[in-house]
Amino acid sequence: MTQSHRISGGQVDRTKTVRFTFDGIPYQGHPGDTLASALLANGVRLMGRSFKYHRPRGPISSGSEEPNALVELRTGGRQEPNTRATVVELFEGLDARSQNRWPSLRFDAMGINDRFSTFFAAGFYYKTFMWPKSFWEKIYEPIIRRAAGLGSVTRQEDPDEYDKGFLHCDLLVIGAGPAGLMAALTAGRAGKRVILADEDFRLGGRLNAETHAVGQASGADWAVAAVAELAAMPNVRLMTRTTVMGAFDHGIYGAVERVSDHLPVPAKGKPRQVLWRIYAGKAILAGGATERPIAFENNDRPGVMLAGALRAYANRWGVKAGERVAVFTNNDDGLRTATDLMARGVDVVAVIDSREGGELIPGVRHLRGAEVIDSSGKLGLKTITVRQSNGKTEDIRVDALGVSGGWNPNVNVHSHHRSRPVYDAGIAAFVPGEDGPPGLSVTGAAAGVLSTHGALRTGRDAAMAALGLTGAAPDLPEAEDAPVRVSPLWFVHHGKGRAWIDQQNDVTVKDVKLAHKENFTSVEHLKRYTTLGMATDQGKTGNVLGLAVMAELTGRSIPETGTTIYRPPYTPVAMGTLAGRSRGKEFKPFRLTPSHHWAKEQGAVFVEVGNWLRTQWVPKAGETEWRQSVDREVLATRKSVGICDVTTLGKIDIQGTDAGEFLNRVYANTFSTLAVGKCRYGLMLREDGIVFDDGTTARMGENEYVMTTTTANAVTVFRHLEFCRQVLWPEMDVQLISTTEAWAQFSVAGPNARKLLEKVVDQDISDASFPYMGAANITVCGGLRARLFRISFSGELAYEIAVPTRYGDALLREMLARGAEFDPIVYGTEALGVMRIEKGHVAGGELNGQSTALNMGLGKMVSKKKDSIGMVLSQREGMVQEDGYRLVGVKPVDPKAALTAGSHFLEKGAAAVAANDGGWLTSKVYSPHLGCDIALGYLKGGDKKIGQRMRIVNLLAGLDTEVEIISPHMFDPEGERLRG
């Protein structure tokens, strides 16, 4: 296929050819092309269908503001919808497809929507689909969503990697046009650390699209030289293909670098995109300006473009958008398009200038005081209708029209902290207002300074001021300094047809009129009622136009009407980029226990507990069902000995002369009386009197304690203790350190626990020398330092033994080998749960953040003889009710009946309604010792109901069974075994 619309000049590399396809048709372009420029070079104008009406559309711009030319790229896992053809860098083999059309772009069946456009005007959905209400979700919305839409997402996983990075600089320069380059040069030459970021793959900004000279060279060549100078500076980082997408607090900017989007697949080891967090001492916004259209009837046909874009395609890419071109402008800049195109030999058939005065362009038909009032051409522009100053109308045959309504400064990033842009009548546009992000200054066209000289000057001056540079300012190269001459014209008054304002969301002048008629006249209402500016382009080309139309309708001035503001991101950011590496399991990596490798060798089943991966049970050969393994582990432990990895419990070393008193304050029960070499169960409350956590704390020395916390609360308890120590009692002599990761800890439980431990412990641990609740620093296996606690969660004779983490695996293997004669087993969290419930110990289901010590049957532990966190508020009226919830044990009358946690207590004969609810089951297991399901639960007045029969009801599970309320201490209630 020949590139029929390629003309001379531009910055594409004509020595190389790049092949690509669009909707399956092969085309050719050159390196340096965008998809849009390459398609235009091949005479393709039709690139998409509009959102609501499915109107044929082509690109109107040459940059990231593009509302129309949205295409889908690539296939499979790399398929990407809604990319703008105007910024997609062409690469060999690029596979691009149009979207939101069926069956084809040229014939789109949904184009029927356009015929019924009166039904789809603003507010249509709100008014029409009100009834019946139930139809909305199931019928209306799916149909509307199918009809009005963008591209489709692939259901496959994205094979590419995305990264995050952090950068620091003295000065961040956003945009590498003349203002940004000059700012970076000024700061770079002064030795400052500079980051210069630009969304384009070629730095230079508008200089690449213009023919102005800068100094002795063309603007584009001056940019090349400036970039080369900056690239040679070690203190300057140039970031092409990098969009600064948002200004955040305290000089932090977010930027997306498209590392590999311009390649078929990323190079090995390279990410597709990187999300940078840039910490900038100061920042300069040099983001340029965006041209806005003038609304007239049927102004959305492929071929109707912004005048500056038409010029950019010719100057930068060597592409003429049409064979016969016209320009429609209200300002001098639009005239440049005509002169530039003529200079390149493009046939400019007319310049339609809405102004009466101004200079005449020689050599072209220049109609002054004229307006374009309509256009025709089904799939692309064929003629425009022009109304001349004398009122006569005339059809002119053209296939491209450049429209210029003036330039809007890109204030976006400056308004990310809610700074309102202010209207500058001199350029008929909004410029940055007060109270922008601290440390951010705005230069060049973004500040409303629209000449090249002005851009260079303000760029330099802003850098000098931002960095407080005092030396001589760099000389500026000579450049054009033409004044802005614009006579505002927002929309052409003519006829009843539709004139587009926001092409991406299909918002027309009519819609704004309707909003006005229905009194949605504030800009914020206008935006939401019509969806003006709410598409993925955030209304970069349409917003100002829309509010200007509203201003005219209401008779208010534009400043009175005001403007909406922008939010990050500046341009759309892919979800994968925001996620970065936090994807799949890397979102939340597992923490592995010291016994993990051993357990894996045994084929253990694991369970996620917080961030930890713990052994749930360890199946033996022949066990086909989990209960077989768990029952065996429980029975074997209670019969002989079992070992469980409890490393995940939080461990906190607490030292200092006030450590005992500190524990008195943070635990509800008394700790100051704990003897050296002893442990005690501790109950920790929140200040509101609810139970926070529990665990054992051992006194290892005069001023030295070791606290354990539950696995789930290890972090929050430590944080709380630091709060108490630093903020509540700052003069206490207490030091804390978390040692959770430092010690591997195993529970060794069962009648033979001591005998097994004697095989590894170097010291005497007989009952006499190491009694129940003892704690000591010991050694194992001939000298390895260790800690031993005689505590029990299972109700058995039990110990917890801790060694430095790196010896955890070895200790487990040693215990199993040396104690082989006792047939030790390793049990997981399920057996742990069975044994603690048999014993009536509270855990997750009971420590639910809503329960008091009294609820748990531990009310007497809360000492009122001392101040402790939560003591006072635990005595509130509502928390000490006689008939409040109490922890009870539950077993079914029929031993075969199954219980379900979460089921509710009901009196016999009571209806299963909330008013009769007596409480609920918090935890349930099968007890191999009792031969039936057992449960713990909170029952109203439960302490007075022991021995009674009630019902357990679960309407969801179809459960309604009679149970006996029993003591929560269901196994060995006297505690004879653990003292054995």
């Binding site: 509101d688 630093q726 903020v727 009692w729 700052p730 006072v872 005595q875």
Partner: protein, 94 residues
């Protein structure tokens, strides 16, 4: 956001955990104060649109509790102190 830690210098806010109003340091003595006083302490808060003193914890850092004076409207941080110093200055002791 960046919090200028009095010991460690500028740190990203992601390293910190937020607790809330700095008045949480004014805990009454449980041996003398009653339920009413504790209720006031724990539940009653100002909600200013403007300057706010609040407690932040440098969890991914040196574990200091800080009192950060921050404007809730602009996010401007005007003062950062070690909470322990503030507590001591208020006469809190053991």
């Amino acid at each position: 956001m960046i919090i200028h830690h009095p010991i460690l210098g500028p740190r990203d806010a992601q390293e910190f955990v937020y607790l809330g109003d700095a008045s949480l340091m004014d805990r009454p003595d449980g041996m003398t104060a009653g339920i009413e006083e504790f209720h006031e302490y724990l539940y009653q808060r100002g909600n200013p649109a403007g300057e706010h003193r609040e407690l932040w914890y440098h969890e991914q850092g040196d574990r200091s509790w800080l009192v950060v004076t921050r404007n809730t409207v602009t996010h401007e941080i005007t003062k950062v102190e070690l909470a322990r110093d503030v507590a001591r200055a208020k006469g809190r002791s053991k």
